[in-house]
Symmetry: C2
Subunit: 409 residues, 2 copies
């Protein structure tokens, strides 16, 4: 049995331990939900205060130049690029993941104007499939959405498929797709792949260009610690830039937005995928998260993430009964999260949160735990399982207060 | 000639004078660019600090419920609704104006599936036309964009037109369209109208439902003082809600987003027009701006706005030579801004900014001044024209430093 001393020894040797104090977490809380909303970086409140008081308040409209607000989408895109194996001029930050999915889907269709199927998998985080559905409705039947089970994906690749949209790390199980292999198989049939990196960027090494990826999108508020509703991002491989007329052709994607021409002329490169005016407050917070992430070694993040997940699984299996592992046991096939199932999962998670261990529940029976190596340590994992064991022994999760579902969980 | 004493007497009687100290403006600056980026409300820095430290930092993921983040788009939409003559459940805040234009355009097409033309005017703020162009490209030729001059708009209305997109207050001249009249004329031919209220909301009374409006969009960072890149908004008349399958069908527009179903089922009412996760930091800042605006009487705002514009025109025409009025002289036909033209407009505006009067320049020759009645007074207008007269007399605008164009102006 792994003891408290054992995990403390692991923390003492952790090369990432110094990052813990770069994040402000509440006293006594073990936060295992950074895969849903990353923790607050130290310094973000001060940064926002400066953006609001000094930049917006004092320099007003001039801040678009004086404080380079106008380049925030490019600058942050360049920083994100370093985390996902892209070139700086292939990534742009802004808007929501959902809107960026729409941009990538419509761009893919332009690469394959004769094809009619947009393909994804069932049981994925739903916004991906939903955005496909809206596009299919808009097309009046010309474009058809197809969702197939994960193990049927390869068989569903065909010369009718205009785009394959996949989430690299599954939001619920944490299972990883093999990006290089699936990209190659799809491309062999002329199918560009859109990788949703929402649960991957900042959690594990991603090398889009090594995989010859076409498109990717991702979320700023999970492992990138950009704050609630942070700007998302879009990657478009350089080889595609000039072939695509952006469908969400907003003014900031114009070659010369301040000429106010009547006709749209796409900017060169990734800039054409900008649309509306960037959300500067959100950009400022996201940049704080990115700057910390860029100081860390991604290989060290991945090594610790694997170890934290392995430790969690081992402790759950030695100390608890009645839970079923719903994530890959093999860390090679797993992102930075572990899900376990229990028929009373909802109430158990509420009881655990009341004990200061925050994970989340996903219907119908999943308790999901995210391991964010920059601010979660080995002892945190040990304590989380210890409290879970205590809750199961005491039966406190049976209390009525833990069995009332809130509107949002 | 209007004297300094005259304008001071007007300020002394101004029922809105008390709102000036609700905004934090730099000492010595006369800010006549609130039509581009509204000033910083007092309290917004403190509010953001609390959202960042207390809500994000302490309550973390639980804040979606505990601090009602999840309802921010609806709550802010309801507040905006009161400013534009809509019902609370007809407006949703979020995303950019450009993205909301796309939502409204694609919704309009669903009301008129057999029609092929989307109509707007030339010389408008370009993102409106650009978003139409992207949609036309996506349609593969089925949808055609048509831009006609303002005085040809009524003649261009025809039974082939699927949607008419117009900016209520022109971004450059400040000219107002007659919303009630144009809406009625278009609707008589079965054409829904999309009103872009970017330069109207918060600047003058708008009564969408009295005009039987179909759709509207608008900007959060101009007269609503929501901060740089603030969330925008979308109005959809209740009678259309259930007829529209949202094309940007993101997860937060689902009837039950936390069921994570594979199939999209639109939420009832305006909620279906939500798409991605809301930008909570931007929402928090925007709400500060809205709350101040809602304390003010819109009739008083409009009365002062007209008077400020009239005073500006009168002073320019009595004290300056070589400038040409490019806004309607009749305040009934003018929003809350006045544009004047001068062949050396760019350099003159730079020299004026150096003297602490901030307006903006719009190519090729327009000096644009916004009058935001909550924080601009009559003496400000007098002083602005006085400094402009001084610059013209001294010829200081001829200095080289005022003649170098920055990338963004």
């Amino acid at each position: 049995m792994t003891s408290l001393d054992d995990v403390r020894a692991l923390d003492a040797q952790d090369p990432l331990a110094g990052f813990r104090n770069r994040f402000a977490l509440p006293e006594g809380v073990i936060y295992l939900d950074g895969n849903s909303l990353g923790a607050r970086p130290v310094g973000v409140a001060e940064r926002l205060d400066s953006v609001v008081r000094d930049e917006w308040g004092e320099d007003l409209i001039r801040s678009w130049n004086m404080h380079d607000w106008i380049n925030a989408p490019r600058r942050l895109g360049g920083k994100i690029a370093r985390l996902i194996g892209a070139n700086a001029h292939e990534v742009i930050a802004g808007e929501s993941t959902s809107v960026n999915i729409f941009k990538a889907l419509t761009a893919s269709l332009q690469l394959n104007p004769e094809r009619s199927i947009i393909l994804s998998e069932t049981g994925n985080f739903p916004t991906d499939a939903y955005m496909m559905e809206g596009l299919a409705v808009l097309s009046g039947g010309r474009i058809r959405q197809s969702l197939v089970a994960r193990d049927a994906l390869e068989d569903a690749l065909s010369p009718d498929v205009a785009a394959l949209l996949l989430t690299h790390t599954h939001y619920k199980s944490g299972s990883l797709h093999n990006m290089a292999e699936l990209t190659a198989k799809a491309q062999a049939l002329g199918i560009p792949v859109i990788w949703d990196l929402s649960h991957s960027a900042g959690a594990l090494p991603v090398d889009l260009n090594a995989c010859n990826a076409d498109f990717a999108v991702g979320c700023g508020y999970k492992y990138l610690n950009g704050g609630p509703g942070a700007p998302a991002f879009l990657f478009v491989a350089q080889r595609h830039h000039e072939r695509i007329f952006p469908v969400l052709s907003g003014w900031l994607g114009h070659a010369r937005p301040f000429d106010f021409d009547d006709a749209y002329e796409p900017a060169s490169g990734i800039d054409r995928f900008q649309c509306g005016t960037p959300a500067i407050l959100g950009m400022a917070a996201l940049e704080c998260g990115l700057d910390i992430m860029l100081e860390a070694d991604m290989a060290a993040i991945r090594a610790k993430s694997r170890a934290l997940g392995d430790l969690f699984i081992k402790l759950v299996e030695t100390r608890l009964e009645g839970f079923e592992l719903r994530s890959p046991r093999n860390a090679d096939k797993r992102g930075s999260q572990v899900s376990i199932a229990h028929e009373h999962g909802y109430a158990i998670m509420q009881a655990l949160i009341a004990r200061g261990v925050i994970g989340d529940f996903r219907a119908p029976d999943i308790l999901r735990f995210g391991f964010t190596p920059l601010y979660v340590g080995y002892e945190d994992v040990w304590t989380a399982v210890d409290r879970l064991a205590s809750i199961m022994q005491s039966g406190e999760w049976r209390q009525d207060r833990f069995n009332i579902r809130a509107a949002v969980t």
